[in-house]
Amino acid sequence: MIATTAGWEIIKWWVVKDNDEYKKWLESSIPIRFLFIWMVCTWTATNAALRKNIAVSDSRFQQQTDASVLLKEAELFKLRQQLQPHFLYNSLNSINALIMISPSKAQEMIGKLSDFLRSSVQRESETVLSVNEEIQYIQSYLAIESVRFGDRLVVTFEKNFDENAVLPPFLVQPILENAIKFGLYGKTGAVAISISIVSDNNMLVITVSNPYAADQQPPKGTGFGLEGIRRRLYLMYARTDLLTTTSIDGQFNTTLKIPQRHVQGNTDR
């Protein structure tokens, strides 16, 4: 305090000398000058605080988005995983039976199952695949099912798709598994399952049809795996209309639509 007052006196003496007018003005303007400096300081402080605040909430928002993306991916992963164990354990059980009934068929089945597993593992990291890759995968799956169900299973393909068309992995196989389960039920002769893959206006449309017995109610709600697929489609495209089922004249049709532009957008990311 003494130092400030002394400093002030020196400044007054040195700058103002003996100019009384100026001395007077200087003294009377103290409050205004003080106010001005105070405002500058306050503004600087507030500005710094606000900036920091924004940075914090920004990073928090980022964390939240990251968390929800992770959560979504975890759920997608879990849904994808769910589809595998049943099929795997059932196939092993079939092999178990074949070892006793027909060892050579058991060997054949082990080879096919290994092929299928190998391509499953390869696909694990992919977000989208070309249709041809998917068809190859489906065929390795069908090879196993045909061992399990013998000549009864007849699968036909109708292909009319754009070469660049892509789709996420592990969607078609569970639908096919469903169709085979329900198609083979309660029938003795051969069962025809048809798969049509068609490009239509930025959409890849995949329809799987299987016959069903007249007294059999088409699966409602409890359909094997269909709910899981619906959920995955929702998580990926935020749409609920991409998987539909219809039953006409003893044919049960499951239609899967994959928006093309969106899928490609995903690969760019």
């Binding site: 164990p85 049943h86 354990y89 059932n90 092993l92 059980n93 079939s94 092999i95 178990n96 039976a97 074949l98 006793m100 009934i101 399990r148 169900f149 389960k181 329900f182 039920y185 309660g186 059999q216 109610q217 699966p219 409602k220 709600g221 409890t222 094997f224």
Partner: protein
């Protein structure tokens, strides 16, 4: 001689159990079925001592089939992968075999059954069915309708009424009786869709048309189907809570 029925939708899976059973001379396989419908018929016809039952089957699953049978035989469940059901089996000491079925484990299960066969394990299975054996909620109820099996989608239910040991499921096509309790059904149906509004009534929220005060602590719910259902004080609170009144 013990009679056994195999119920599994996969022929190879049945073949496996049949082959594994060959070493038990006191057991004969009287029928093989590929789903719950066939299984139901075969059990009525043969009255087996034991069934091997898969859970996941088209049309009618293993549990739904068992629910329809009045005095179910002993059951050894065979399943590929169903964590939830496995927990239920373990807590009720009901035997099950995991696929792929291994001979050692299979033999143990059958021997154990043979040891206890005279007193049968029926009560255990019945008890098991009284708990919620399903993961998630059911979207349908399976009933017996003059010897035939009917699957009622949850969306077609008008309301469900308790009736002594039975529940009465009222739909557009008429009403059906099922040997079960409202508390059990309450556990299996989605609580976002079905509300137990009274000790004796459960209604789908979509059926609710209007609610009128009745006596001191109760209300009357008018349903779209025209029926009137008593709503208790607790039921009213549940409705308010669910519908956000």
């Amino acid at each position: 001689m013990f009679k056994v029925i195999l119920i599994d939708d996969e022929p190879l899976a049945r073949q496996l159990v049949r082959t594994l059973l060959e070493s038990f001379k006191q057991i004969t396989v009287v029928a093989e079925c590929s789903d719950g419908f066939e299984g139901f018929k075969a059990i009525q016809e043969h009255h087996p001592d034991l069934i091997f039952l898969d859970i996941q089957m088209p049309r009618l699953n293993g549990f739904e089939m068992l629910e329809l049978i009045e005095n179910p035989p002993s059951v050894i469940f065979t399943t590929a992968f169903d964590e939830y059901a496995m927990k239920a089996f373990e807590s009720h000491a009901v035997d099950y075999l995991l696929k792929p079925i291994v001979k050692e484990r299979f033999d143990k299960a059958v021997q154990k059954w043979l040891l206890h066969a005279p007193d049968k394990e029926r009560p255990k299975v019945t008890e098991l069915l009284e708990t919620n054996v399903y993961e998630g909620y059911q979207h349908r109820i399976v009933v017996k309708d003059s010897g035939l099996i009917r699957i009622i989608p949850a969306t077609e239910i008008f309301y469900i009424e308790a009736n002594d040991d039975y529940i009465k499921i009222v739909t557009n096509d008429g009403s059906y009786l099922k040997k079960s309790t409202l508390s059990h059904i309450e556990n299996t149906l989605d609580p976002q869709q079905f509300v137990r509004v009274h000790r004796s009534y459960m209604i789908p929220v979509t059926q609710l048309k209007r609610i009128e005060p009745y006596e001191k602590d109760s209300h009357i719910a008018l349903l779209h189907c025209g029926a009137k259902v008593t709503v208790s004080k607790a039921g009213m609170a549940k409705l308010k809570n669910l519908l956000g009144w």
